[in-house]
Subunit: 183 residues, 6 copies
């Protein structure tokens, strides 16, 4: 090992980036201020579906704006597409990212795969989980509810600027047909 950089990888889908995500990142930073943090945007290739309405670039933009607003610097944001074979996902991520020692995730499969590969894995704190879980935020967005309970102001403004509520409504209608574009 050439030098003493410590790095952590925080994995999520961020559909969208909500207040719970931000608090969890703040908690990680507070616990290990010297650790360089990489935020991995999972399922980066997904967009325009009920489960994954926003592109990786839009999610990157939300996280970037949310961190600027919260005064958090020194965090890298990296889109991580799924790979065809689950068993290759950890080697794929290792090939795309600098060496890291610690993984933050609440997804049991992600945890299992990284633990099998020898990493230390920690859960992230879940603040008011009943409110801030992604599926609930997306449902509220589709219903046209105010986003303030879920999103910080900078993120809410960004979601509004790209027509997030209209897109979620559109995707709700599309889900009934169960088809993609061209389908």
């Amino acid at each position: 090992m050439s030098a003493a950089l410590q790095r952590g990888l925080f994995v999520g889908r961020f559909q969208p980036f909500h207040r719970g995500h931000l608090r969890a990142i703040e908690a990680v930073r507070a616990a290990r201020p010297a650790e360089r943090l990489i935020i991995g945007i999972g399922s980066a290739q997904e967009s325009y579906t009920i489960q994954n309405p926003f592109t990786a670039g839009e999610r990157f933009d939300m996280i970037d704006r949310g961190l600027v607003e919260a005064g958090i610097e020194g965090v890298s944001i990296v889109p991580l597409p799924d790979v065809n074979q689950h068993a290759l996902w950890v080697p794929y991520v290792e090939g795309m990212l600098p060496a890291f020692e610690r993984v933050y995730t609440n997804n049991p499969l992600t945890r299992g795969l990284f633990e099998d590969a020898g990493y230390t894995v920690e859960g992230t704190e879940m603040y008011e989980r009943e409110k801030w879980v992604g599926v609930g935020v997306r449902a509220a967005l589709a219903r046209g509810e105010p986003m303030d309970p879920y999103l910080t102001p900078a993120v809410a403004r960004f979601v509004e600027s790209i027509g997030g509520a209209a897109r979620m409504k559109l995707l709700s209608r599309t889900a009934e047909t169960g088809r993609g574009p061209g389908g």
Copy 2:
């Protein structure tokens, strides 16, 4: 722009190509006789599933025979495979097709993506939708019913020549296992 060709893109899956599709194409032609029409076969890579029993080539054959039978000429037929990322589908289609100005579709996601990219999008007329929607035609085919209410004679003969009813029955049995070939 080098010349005044106007082109329209009519998108569907055509599983199978039924009377409702033909009427919608006739309506488009009648409304804009000078427009060059491209029929895009969506989800072209799909076949041998309950939702998509026929290959793109078989669907191409059905459309081609149906148009010949109806005396419609000057229409291009193009298979359009899905792409891995919905957000890339419109740029992908633009890279495969000549410039077009107008899109005909009833799929809300297809409409949304093309509108976001600046295209004019029109719905297609739905004739006796309760009868001619694809899922109903496929169910009737699986039950071995006569195809005359759904398909024009040339298309019905073609579907019969490739054993369409037997294939739909086979796929119904396979759907219970939820597996592809090799699965």
Copy 3:
């Protein structure tokens, strides 16, 4: 044709390789001792899902150990990934395997595709199907039940050595979230 080798292809997913699979292979060998047998591991790219918990390599290992234990030699084991287009699966398999004349499968779609391509297809005998069907074996594994009714000793020891029961439990929890790694 350059020589009189006869070959058969036995297709399955082997999630996991259970006593029913072994008996079916023994029956095929008894019926045609001179036939060279290829065991194709279907959906080889799949792993770490409820339907497909084990990698192709782990399934290969199970089959290899099971055949050694049963004293069966002269069988080739080959992982066969799915391909994007069902209609291309048979040509894909033909391009990866030596010429074969006969296919053993109980999957109706696999049977249909190979028959359409001109192969002789035979079903495999189903011994105590209610006990040995894969989905039941996986459920028992997830519940931590003894594997002896389902797996031969060598296979059971291998599944235990790789923590098969813990993995099935993990995948059950993950299935609730409906997401892959990074999801």
Copy 4:
């Protein structure tokens, strides 16, 4: 077989669509006026390289304009991407196109693969080959020469409208570095 449609497939890359291509198509049409002709745009995924400067869509546009100019109707134009495995290319094409009996190509590999699959293959006439071969046309375009000896007026206007000469110059400079975008 359900009906007596005869179809031929004319394969080329059309980088760009030049006078030699048009004459070859006219010869095919004259020889078999009743045959429905499909023009397959090979290596459809390629663009922005020295060998393949134009996208499939731009090539489609050239062919379409050239045929309108020449008064040729009833020809389908279809982009055909390469597939990863040469041995799967013919089955791939068969899955994307309606049944055809005859192939027109001067590429020996294309000829060999289709002949091995049982098709009748004919070479296309080569008019003034020393002038109209694609590589020469592209070199002339990169040098900024007049396109009239190579391209019909409608195609030349289209190539000019998309800045074809500037693109070829750009690609010549890029070829020295041997890298794609991002490279």
Copy 5:
């Protein structure tokens, strides 16, 4: 547009990250201190070849260490794999990154594609280009020369820690055979 963030994208392959790259980044930062900078690692999927010896992760590590050493903060580093179709590369990048207005590159194809898509593109300053061009640095590394003229201390230590010189020698031998692993 929801807020006044300005972003620039600096594209390179960084095989390896050398003093010339660092100076160019410093110049960009000096010229526009308020611009948020994204460093895109091009051809991210490539590694273990003569042209691309290092994985995206290793290149990420080099850049990260070089920026820490130089006291540059607030820069995002993102791996950007090639896509199969050059014409889709800009839309692909747009889908993976937050909105940006300016691109820094010396690659003429990258410049051309981004300009065609409406971006402002600037070349990066080339410091002592004869010394710091990537191919020269890789050749010196393969010959086992000291890296100090080419790499900053932190990057040189990292390259040494992963056995960079031995890998370049290995790849030189492999290049003679012209084959990848398994080849």
Copy 6:
């Protein structure tokens, strides 16, 4: 580890399977008779090129016939396609094969990647290398020379039965154009 099976992986492209390959396999078997041997067919997706004229299936057939002829049993033959990222090739192979401890290869990159992953790697003996290297055998085949100096009788008969010499001649002509099918 659940049991004491020892396995070795012998990697090659086998274009075609020649006397040198057979001798090397015999030497490996003689040195470690108890080791279960897996023969991995590298670049399995390649075919119909000058470097890789034969499909993986044809190469599988050659090896299978050559081993039967030589009385060698208990060897598994497995096609191994290349993967898009060299750094993922070893994890990919690990996911497709049962656990193995030893690798046999003369390819320096293959050796390096497996050694970096902790495997024992051995070179294979090279018998009369000037005669039996693959490129020389392919050239002799293209010239229509007798195959006896290069191939064992069973392999030579198989290559003749599939028209190997004609194919190599065809591919020599195609190589001049530098294009694949559709190109």
